[in-house]
Every structure is written in C-alpha cells, then in structure tokens.
C-alpha cells in the first residue's frame, strides 16, 4: 500500500483534514487548527469506511472480519470501572496525571468500541460472553450486543470523552472525584446497555445513579443537593418496583420449569396470567418511563439539568435518558409483549400529548435556557417513545436513530449553554441579546445545532423524526388512531421550531443592550474542539443515515417479528389464573443463542411439557 495508493484511496479524508485546518481564522492557534483538521479527517474516514452500499461492502467486510473476540464487551465494561478504582490511587494534587489518565481510559474505550463496527450485525447476539455468577440463584454474567444496543454503546463511548474534555475546562474543584464519577458512570452505562441478565441489568441500572448523583450533588449549581436527591429518589422508586416484578417473574419461571434463572432469554418465554402480566408490565414500564422521562413523571429532569454541571448535564441528556427508552424496547416489549401491544395506542397518545406537544409548549415558556433544553429533550424523547409504541420496523428504526440523534444534538446544546454559563454565570434568556455580533462563531454553531434539534432536513434530527412519523402512520398496532397520532406528531415539528427560534432570537439577534455582553470572548480552543465532533456528527447522520440504519435493521426486524408473534400468542393464551411457558420454537434460534440450558439431564417435570403441547407453537418467528 504505497503512500500514493493511500492518498488516492483516502483523498476525501485528507482533503477534509486540510479544509478543517484552514477553517479557523488567521490568529487561531496551531492546536485548534490541528485539532479541527484531525476531527474532520477522522469523521470523513468514518463515513468512507462505513459507506452505505447495498450491503455488498458489508458482506466483503464480513469475510475478512477478525471474528468476535469474546472479551471485548468485558473490556468495554471493566476498563472504565477499573480505571475509576485506579483514579482513586492517584494523588489529588497531580491534576494533569488525573486528566491524562481519564482521557487514556476513555480513549481506549472509544477505540475498542469502534471494533464493534467491524462485525456485520446480523440478527441475534454478537460478542456474547456468559459466565456463572451466582449459580444457585441462576444469576449469570451474560452480556451481548446486537444492532439496537450497538449504536447506544458507541454513543456512550463517543459522548463521554467529549463531555470530559469540555467539563475539565469548567470543573475546577475536586478533579479526582470528578474523574472517578465519570469513569464509573461510563462503566455503569455500557454495562446497562449490554446486560442480558435481569439481575446484572438491575445492578448496572442502580450503579449508574450513584456517580450521576455525585456529579449533580457536588459540582452542581445553587440548590444542587435537592435536585440530586429528587433525581435519585425518582429513579430509585421506579427501579424498586421493577426489582419486585423481576423477582416475581423469576419465581414463576422457577415454578414452571423447576430451575432458577434471571436470564432475559429464558424469562421471555414465560406468559404470566392476565392481570399479573399487566401489573408486571406497569412495574417495569414505570421504572423506564421515569427514566425516559415520560409525561407525568418528568419533573425531575429540568431540576436535575438546571443544577447539573455542563459535563454531567451532557452525559445525563445524551446517554442516561436513552437507557429508559432502550430498556422499554428491550425488556418491557420483550418480556410483556401482550399488555405492551394492548396499551400501545393509549401510550402513544401520552407520548404525543404529554411528550411532544406538552414538552414543546412548556419549553416555550421557560426563562432559563437549560430548563428550556431539558423540556426540549422531553419533546424529542416523546418522538422516540412514539416510534416504539408504533411497533413498526420503520418506527422502531426511527426511534433508535432518534435516540442517537438526541444524544448528539442535545449534548451539543448543553455544551453551548455551558459556554455562556462559564462566561456570565447566568442562564436567564433575558440577560442576553445581540450576542451574534460579539460571538459570531458561537452564534453560527448554536444556529446549526438549533436547526439540528428542530429537525431541518440535511441534519440528523429530520431523519429520525421522518422515520418515526412514517412509522406511526403505517402502524397497525395503533389501528384507527394512526392518522390522528401522525397529525399530532407532525404538529410537534412546528412547536419545535417555535421555542428553539424564540431562544435563538432572544439570545443572538436584536440590539446589544446589556453592557455585560459587550466584551464576551468567542469560543475558546477547548470548547470548539469539544463541539466540532458533535457538529460534524450532526451532518454525517443527516446525510448518511443508512450507515447507522443498515447495522440496526436486522436486529430490529428480529425484535419486531418476535414482538408481533409473541404478543399475539400472549394475548390469545393468557388466561385468568395460570402462568404458561411458550415453547422454544416460537422464538428464532438466533435470539435464543446463549439461553441457560437445563443442565439437569432429568426430564423436566412432566407437567411442564404436557401443558405446552396443548399450546402448540404454531406462531413461528419469521427469520
């Protein structure tokens, strides 16, 4: 591969690099030029490497893929957590070592997560790793990745280093604890995305809360402790109910099959009795709705965001909210498809009225920019939940893509709000006016991100919302409501423009009246380098969404077909009193790979098989 071939093959990346280097104005430092150039080149490389073709290249890649190293996922989870422990041993005064170490760990995490892209994400589990943890209880360390969780893990490893890099600019006290919290948070989040054992999932689900509680509570704003406690209690209350439902589910499974297991694959075969199913569905879903946040239980989000430091706020918005939606898609729709499909029309109504329209309207009335952006994430996630409730392949793909989009655009928005907060230490919208003259670059970046979050085509927001709206109309789950739901969701597009442009005009346009705004410095090198990857990602997703969609399509199709078949069976066969066990062949073998096998050679209790025969698994999952 002589250098000339290299140049010839990757000329767009080199060109983009040079262009990136030229962008900053004359007096910019070489560090900024080099940084921007590098980021531009890497992004173009990313696009070329995953260029969306008709699957031809993917097949070629599969041929020479290095196979699935089983310990990759363990590395992704364990590295940050071990790093967090190691940070504690670094003396408090050596700030540069602390920061360097954090960057190292997060950097390795990001590079390792890029390896996930080499494997074509066919339906079923990849990089699966199973190890017994508490055999007596049937708890196993079972982690695996599929199309759905792939991009969320990549979002985590992509956003956390940026948040860290940006927040080291503004966090001045207790750097060591901040690094500890950051690394633990990354480990917890990735673990939660990859866990397939309900117990393991619950452990990571709770583990995540602690560092975020620390971040809001220690480095937050004025009454940060109250907001941190409110955040913690809200999520904890939800997840405690989920734990009860998990235990009940495991207990029923033990009654049916005779052996304990917390494994998601095994438990998804259990069909509880009618009202137990609904209760457990609500127990699970409430925990996830609090996290999303859905309408009635969302009031913790604005307080948490207003008090959280910039870095914490970025991670909270970019990744932690996605756990609620991802977990609803994986566990609520996976374990209780019956009630999920019965209630999908009503829940979609809540997602639209309570989420999209309510979030947008309340955001319009906010005076604090961060509170406004917080309510805007309620609106955006309303779209995501609508995509999930519509339960069509398009809608679900749109939902997962919108999760990634929201992570990128709202993460960038919070970084931008952090920029002015560091300068003026206030977030009141009325304090600013006519900033565009004083901080032109900042105004341009803010405008781009605003149009991304409003969903102007060509940016990432549009693709996600477009898929969700199309999916809603095509959905037969929503039945007669599909039309009115589509109209409601599309109306959300208008309101999104209303409140975002309101804040842009209030802050940037109009005369420069406030004397304090006269001499605000424009974006510093750190801020612009932190924002550059996000802004580029906005355009990459906007113009080449099929890079992302092709890799999640098959897993989503598998999940959708299974959801359709099993919900049909669950509604049909759930009777008043007894729980039942679906035969194994209602699930596709790819899905059941890694299910705990019955070690006991003894024939399972006669009763279990007898009742299933009557069921007869005629509902096959189309591969």
């Amino acid at each position: 591969m002589s250098p000339l071939d290299l140049v010839f093959q990757y000329w767009p990346a080199i060109g983009a690099g040079i262009l990136g280097a030229l962008v900053p104005r004359g007096d910019a430092s070489t560090k900024q030029r080099a940084g921007l150039g590098l980021i531009a080149a890497l992004t173009t490389l990313f696009v070329i490497w995953l260029w969306p073709t008709e699957g031809g290249a993917q097949a070629a890649q599969a041929a020479e893929a290095a196979g699935e190293w089983p310990h990759l996922l363990n590395l992704l989870i364990a590295l940050p957590i071990v790093g967090a422990a190691a940070v504690l041993f670094i003396p408090r005064q050596m700030l540069s070592v602390l920061r360097g170490f954090t960057y190292l760990v997060l950097g390795i995490g990001f590079v390792a997560s890029l390896w996930l892209l080499t494997v074509p994400m066919t339906a079923g589990w990849h990089f699966q790793y199973i190890k017994d943890w508490m055999p007596s209880l049937g708890i196993r360390y079972h982690v695996a990745i599929d199309g759905i969780s792939l991009w969320l893990v990549l979002l985590t490893t992509f956003v956390t280093p940026i948040a860290a890099y940006a927040s080291f600019g503004s966090i001045k006290t207790r750097i060591k604890e901040f690094c500890f919290a950051l690394l633990l948070l990354q480990g917890g989040m990735i673990g939660a995305f990859l866990a397939l054992d309900l117990f393991l999932f619950y452990v990571f689900w709770e583990l995540m809360l602690v560092p975020m509680f620390m971040m809001i509570g220690v480095w937050g704003g004025a009454d940060r402790v109250k907001a941190a406690i409110k955040f913690f209690l809200y999520t904890m209350a939800g997840s405690v109910l989920m734990l009860a439902a998990i235990i009940y589910l495991v207990w029923t499974h033990q009654k049916l099959t005779g052996d304990f297991t917390f494994d998601y694959l095994a438990l998804s075969r259990v069909v509880l009795s009618k009202n137990a199913q609904i209760i457990c569905f609500w127990a699970f879903s409430l925990a996830f709705f609090i996290k999303v946040p859905m309408w009635p239980v969302h009031t913790w989000l604005p307080d948490a965001h207003v008090q959280a430091p910039t870095g914490g706020s970025v991670i909270l918005a970019a990744v932690m909210l996605k756990l609620g939606t991802y977990a609803y898609m994986r566990f609520s729709m996976g374990l209780f498809p019956g009630p999920a499909s019965n209630l999908s029309a009503n829940l979609a109504g809540v997602a639209i009225l309570g989420g999209i329209l309510y979030g947008a309207l309340v955001a319009w009335k906010q005076r604090d920019v961060k509170r406004l952006v917080a309510y805007s994430s309620v609106a955006h996630l309303g779209f995501v939940m609508l995509g999930l409730f519509s339960a069509t392949p398009t809608g679900m793909q749109g939902a997962v893509l919108q999760m990634v989009n929201h992570g990128v655009s709202t993460g960038a928005l919070f970084l931008l709000v952090g920029v002015i907060y560091d300068r003026r230490h206030t977030r009141e919208v009325d304090e600013f006016g006519g900033l565009a003259k004083v901080m032109p670059i900042y105004a341009v970046v803010f405008l781009i991100v605003t149009f991304a979050s409003v969903g102007v085509p060509g940016t990432n927001g549009f693709v996600g919302e477009f898929l969700v709206i199309m999916g809603t109309f095509l959905s037969e789950r929503l039945g007669k409501f599909a039309g009115i739901h589509t109209v409601g969701a599309a109306a959300g597009v208008i309101l999104a423009a209303v409140y975002m442009l309101y804040v842009v005009q209030k802050m940037f346009f109009g005369p420069l009246t406030n004397p304090k705004n006269k001499h605000l410095p424009d974006l510093t090198v750190r801020e612009s380098l932190a924002l550059a990857p996000l802004v580029l990602m906005i355009f990459v997703i906007g113009f080449f969404p099929s890079i992302f969609l092709d890799r999640m399509k098959e897993s989503i199709l598998l999940q959708h077909n299974q959801y359709k078949v099993v919900s049909g069976q669950a509604i049909l066969f759930a009777d008043e009193r007894d729980a039942k066990l679906l035969p194994e062949d209602t699930f596709s073998p790819a899905f059941l790979k890694g299910m705990p096998k019955k070690e006991k050679p003894a024939e399972p209790p006669a009763g279990a098989e007898g009742s299933q025969a009557a069921l007869g698994g005629e509902g096959k999952v189309a591969q």
């Binding site: 009860a244 309340v362 009335k365 095509l474 007669k480 039309g483 423009a497 442009l501 309101y502 969609l549």
Partner: protein, 870 residues
Amino acid sequence: MEALKAQFPATNFTLLAVVLALPLIGAFVNGVFGKRLGKAGVRLMALSALGGSFIAALATFLLLPKGEGGGTLAWTAWRWFSLNGRMGQTIPIDVAFSVDAMSATMMLVVTGVGFLIHLYSSEYMIKDPGYHRFFAYLNLFCFAMLTLVMADNMAVLFVGWEGVGLCSYLLIGFWFGEEKNATAGKKAFIVNRIGDFGLLVAMAILLYYTGSLRFAEINANARNLLDPVTIWPFGNLPIESQWDAANPSANALYKAIVHLFLPEKGIQVYASTLVGLAMFLGAAGKSAQIPLYVWLPDAMAGPTPVSALIHAATMVTAGVYLVARTSAVFLMSPAAMATVAVLGCATAIFAASIGLFQHDLKKVLAYSTVSQLGFMFIGVGVGAFAAGFFHVFTHAFFKACLFLGAGSVIHAMHARIHDTDKSQDIRNMGGLKKYMPITRWTFLLSCFAIAGAPPLAGFWSKDEILWRAFSTKIVAPEVGRLEPLWTWPSWLGQTIYWVGVVAATMTAFYMFRAYFLTFHGEFRGWKVVAGWKEPKHAHGHDDHGHDDHHDHHDDGTPLEGPKPHESPLAMTLPLMVLAAFAVFAGFLMAEPIHFEPLGHILAPVFTRAHDAVVLRGEGVEKLMWPMMGPGVAAFLAGTGAAMVVYLNKGGAPEEAFKKAAPGLYKLIYDKWRIDELYDAVVVGMVDALADIFTTADKWLIDGVLAKLTAAIVAFFGTVLRTFQTGRVQVYGAAMAIGLAGVGFFLVRPHADATVDDSKLRSAGEVVISAAPGPGYEYRWEGTGTEQKDFGPLREVRINVNPGETKDVKLHVRNAFAQEATHSFAITRPGRGFPSSAAPVPVVPGGVVPAGGGSIPAKDIPGLINPRGAQ
C-alpha cells in the same frame, strides 16, 4: 452536442451534480473563508458559481431527450435510507435527482434570474459589512431551490423545501441587529413550518397508499388513493347507532346531548382529497396563499435583492411547482383542485385589494406577488397546469425586474434618507424619471407586463389561465361502487374567470399608482441643491447596516441633498435583461396565436392532465378570442384610472376617498387586520395552552408527585421524633415495660387448635388437634368421654351426624398452673338449616398440588400486592 450526449448518459447524468455542487461550494467558500477573500473575491466566487451552474443548466435543458414519453435525465448520489412499507416491503429513499421538461425550465429560471440578481446585489450590498455572509446565504438558497426543483422523490424535495425556508429565515433576518427584522425572519420560518407540517402528513399518506415517495411511482399508482378514510369520529369514538346500542338506558336529555356530538354516519373523505388538501397546506405555506400568506409582506424586512430572488422569482413558486409535479394526485380529487382554485382566486382579489393603498413600495410589490401567485394557483387549480407553470415562468421575470427597480430607487434614496421605512415610502419619492431614466423605463415595461398589456408576457400567461378557467371542466375519475367523487359545479369556472378579471384591473391600478407616484410629479424626497457636498460632521457611510441608525435631520429644517443618481451599470444591466425577457417571454406559449414552443415541451409532463380536463361545451373553443376582450379591458381600465387619479390629479381623489371613508381606508391600509386576528386567535390560543401546561407542570404534577410525598414523609418524621427524649432512664423504663409485657405474654397459656373438617360433609368426622406449648396439659369437654384432670392428649376425633351441632370445650393449663379455655361449635350440614361453622383459622396449604405445570393462580397475585389501579 452528440459528444456531450454520449459523455453524459441519460440515467447517470452527472451534469446535474455540477449544477448542484457549484452553488454549494460557493456557499461554503464564501461562508467560511469569505472574510479572508475580501469583497472582490467573494463577488467573483458567487458570480462564477451561479454562472457555471446556469451554463450547466442550459446544457441540461438542451440535452433533454425529446422522446414522446417525456424524457428525464436522472442521477442518484447515494442511498439515503430505506423504509418498510405497509406490506413489509422495503422502500428505498435515495438522494436522487431527475430532470424533465418542467424542472429543466425551472432550473433555467432559478439559475438565470439568480445570476442576474447576484450581479445586481454585488453592487447593491457593496457597502454592507456582512457582504460575504449575504452571498453565502444567497448561494445556499440557490442550492436548496435547485435541490427542490430537481428532486426525484418527495423526501429530497422536502430537503430543498425546508432548506429554502431556512435560507429565507437567514436572509430576511440578515440585518439581525434590529428586533423587527429578526421577528420577521422567525415568523417566515414558523409559518413555512406550518406548511411543512402539511407536507409531512401528505408524505405519510402517500407512502401508505402508493407505497413509494418517488414522483414517478406516485403518479403511476395515484389510483390507490381513491380509498375512503373516516376522518370523524376517529379512534374508538362510536357513531350514534353504536352509542345507542352500547348504553340503551341513557335518559333522553343525555342522549340528545351526545347525539349533538356524535355523527349519524362517520364522515368519510377520499384519501386523494386528504393528500390534496395537505399538500395545498404545504404549498400555501411556501407560496403565501390565503391561510398562510402573512409572512410574505413582513419578509420585506430583508434586503431588496433577497425579495427579488426569493419572494418573487423562485421560492414562492415552489408551491405551484409541487402541485404541478404531483398533478396526477390532484386530478384524483376534484374537491382538492376546487379548494386550490377558489383559495387562489380569493388570495388574488384579497391581496390586490390590500395593495391598493400601501405606501411602502416593497409592500405594494409584495402584495402584488401574493395576488399573482393567486392567479397561478387558479391555473393549476382548474387543471391548466401548463398555463399555471407558464405564469410562474413569466412572473419570475417581470416581478424580479420590478423588485430590482424598486431596489435601485431605494438605493438612490439612501443617499440622504437612511431610515429604512422612510427610504421605501413612495410619498417621499416622485419625479425620479428625470434622474433615473433606465430604472424608469424598465420599471414601466414591467408594469405593462404585469398589468397584462397585450403583446407582453403577462398578458399571454394571465389570459391563458383565465381562459382555461372559463372554458374547461374536470372529469372526476370513476370509483366503481364507492360513493362518487365530488364534481365541480358548472358555474364555478366562470365565476373564477370574472373574479380574476376584477383582480387584474386592481393589479393594473396599483402597479401604475406606484409607477406614477414614484417616477412622475416633482421630487418630494429632499430639496435638490446643485453641487451639494456631504457636510463633514455627518457620520461616514461605513456602517451601511440599518441597525443603529437614527435620522437626526427630522428637526423641521427641510432636508437638502444632491440629485438622486442613477444606479451603476451592475444594477441597471440586470434590469434591462429582465425587462427584455418580460417583453418577449410571452411568445414562448402564446396559445391563441398557436405559437407555443414551451407548451410543446411541457406537453409530455402533463399527459394525464390532458385527458382529465376537457372543454366545458362543444362550441366553447370558438369563444377564445372574444373572451380575451375583458382581459384587455381590465388592463386599460386599471391603467387609465391610475393615470387619471395620480398623474392628472396628483393623488387628490385618494385623499378624498380617505376622508370619505376613513374607517374602510384604515381597515384596508392595515391589511384587513389579519395579522392582529392571527395573533389573537392562533398565537393567543397556543400561548394560553402553554401557560396552562406550565402552571400545571409546576404546581400540579411537580407539586403532587414530588412536594406532597416529601411533605408526608417529613410529617411522620416529626411525629416519631417526640419519643426520643435523650435520657437514659426513659429508655431503661421503656425496656422494662417491654420486658414486663413479654413476660406476661409468655406466662399466659394459649388454647389454640386446628379443626380438620375435610371429611365433615361426607363422613361427619372431625379431628381437632390442639397447638403444643411449653409444659402444656389439656382437658377436653363435650367429646363424649369425660375427662376430669389435665392430660397430654392433644388430638380428639368427634363424630357428628347430619343436621346436629356439637359444642366442644378445650382447657389448657401451663407450667405456672394458668388455665385457658376455647370452645368450638361443629355442625354438620344435613337436611334442614345451612352450616355456620365457627370462624376457623385455616393455614393456607403450602404444598404445590401435583399435576399440571401450572401453579394455582389464586395465591400468585396475593404474593405481590397489585400496586397499580387496574
């Protein structure tokens, strides 16, 4: 030509990439490196980008395959994303562009007029600090407009659609220093967004019914849209009969009220009408028709060339282009086409009426644009797609020329009057024909064109539309056994024709009113002083921006100033070119004289329209020439009236009318107070809803969920705190009391027993076994065998014959010689009275009954207390 054709195959026509890429590169270069390039560099970049794109567009137009099936040149960039259709099939959405005759002409207009306007504004904006930013936005706008025009599927069209809205937001709010401009920009974007909402819904419906978003396939299987959709009552709402069946016992009053709301029969509408209406909402948003036209007059806050390019030539015509492009869908529903035509007509007459009394030159032109757009929508509404499109074509030229003329006048006025509103006010102008000959003649020619003077472009296109409205009717597609589609009433075509004629007269009147007030009479701007020099103290012209200007000359002394100068060549050249086109463009489709080269090119594009729209009656076509009379009469009447009022009498009659009907005058001058109506109704309602939600969010949801629970917990906390006194003895005492209680309980004996009456019903036999205890002794009574003293016997068997009640007493004595007794009444249900067994505590059977993998469900729910109300 053949070499070019060979080099660019029809299916992979990369020349389209060149047409698109050049403005994009121009925008990027100007935007990012603009400041460093300097004004000359930026100007060169922008003009070369547009020039190159125009040449490529011209080449594309020439290379259009003239085949009978309407040859198209297509180019696919990359797979954008793919959707899953209704039957599970994947629908690929590619970034694909295809050009047929219509879009080729549109491309020529966009790049041609765009190039001229770029040339013009390179001079007009020469003193503006944001020079590079302006050209970046202008180039980006051209890119977005080209994407819109050349899109192959509706998704890419939507990209162009919103891109154009975005650029108009940026350009209207270009001088963002002033609050007014920024608000106008925001208003334009939001109103466009409401239109885009309509387009999104239309796309969803099209995807559902026709299974694809590509125009070719949409037009091909447009017939699938003929499927009735119940829009009211939606969801699970019952219709009347269902409701009555559901709750028959409702009383009369309640039933009456419900019947008020519920329809007898669900309202059904054809999907094609729904799509048509949704798309018209989108078009109305973009092309400023009746419901959503309010943003266009405010958009005059932007620089004049912007108004010329965006609000005259290109963007506003996007709506007409969309309707023409999806003509097959509209043809499926005459109701939708009727709405388009009627609203178009209403807009024409309404906007014209407002234009009559406006004083701001650009506002007059803005309202004339809205009214001319009304004409175009009449064209496409009545099925004359080619005519509507031709009016778009001609309107682009003469309206751009008018706007640029106005720009050059304003440019001249800026020499002394810097306030934006005053410099555009025609009352300050007058008599400029002496000073600005070229602008005056080009303005005059365009006025003739727009007013519909016979040989000029305006006459041919407007007359064609009105003639088509008058003479044709639409044949509704047959729908078999379904309810037949709504068809046009016969009189509708004629009424539209006559209303159009009235609007045409008004157009002629206000256009010439503006012309005479601006160019004739004596100059009212300032006292012209020969050789007037710029006083030293006056501030320099560095900041041409309009934000923090204030005019300190209004302190009563009459303003002096130099002679208004004619605009430099860079501005007058485009005027002349456009004026020339305004004169000769008409002959491209002059149907009455059967010389219509453009008509022939467009024919293949609208083949479906050709056979769906037929002449009203047999002999109607003979009326073509006579029906031209009213059109020409309208022109003569309008121009004459304007000449009489403003040229001869110098505007006196207008003053007279103002005094005669001040209320009406004020009403029309205030644009029929539509803006205030919208603010009060639409914006007000949304604002109120937002307030309700915010307060509910703060007090109701946050209050109840978070603060109330916290308060309850705090209350219990304080209650329990009073027990902790902090003194050791108190705790010791509590312990002692506890000790005493436990001791008392342990010492007392407890006489408990379990009664096993499983065989009571069958064999009448009951086993009572007493609960064991430390040092317990038992004595039974009533079991037949008398037992005086206490013994270890714990279990007793009693036989009860049917219908009999037996009373058994149990005495228990513990080590401390304490005694306790417990009595049981055992009755066996026999003939006679039902059994009333004493309340017997039954310990739930713990063991799982064998058989059946299922567990008794009765104790499963008991295990987890159902939290949620079901």
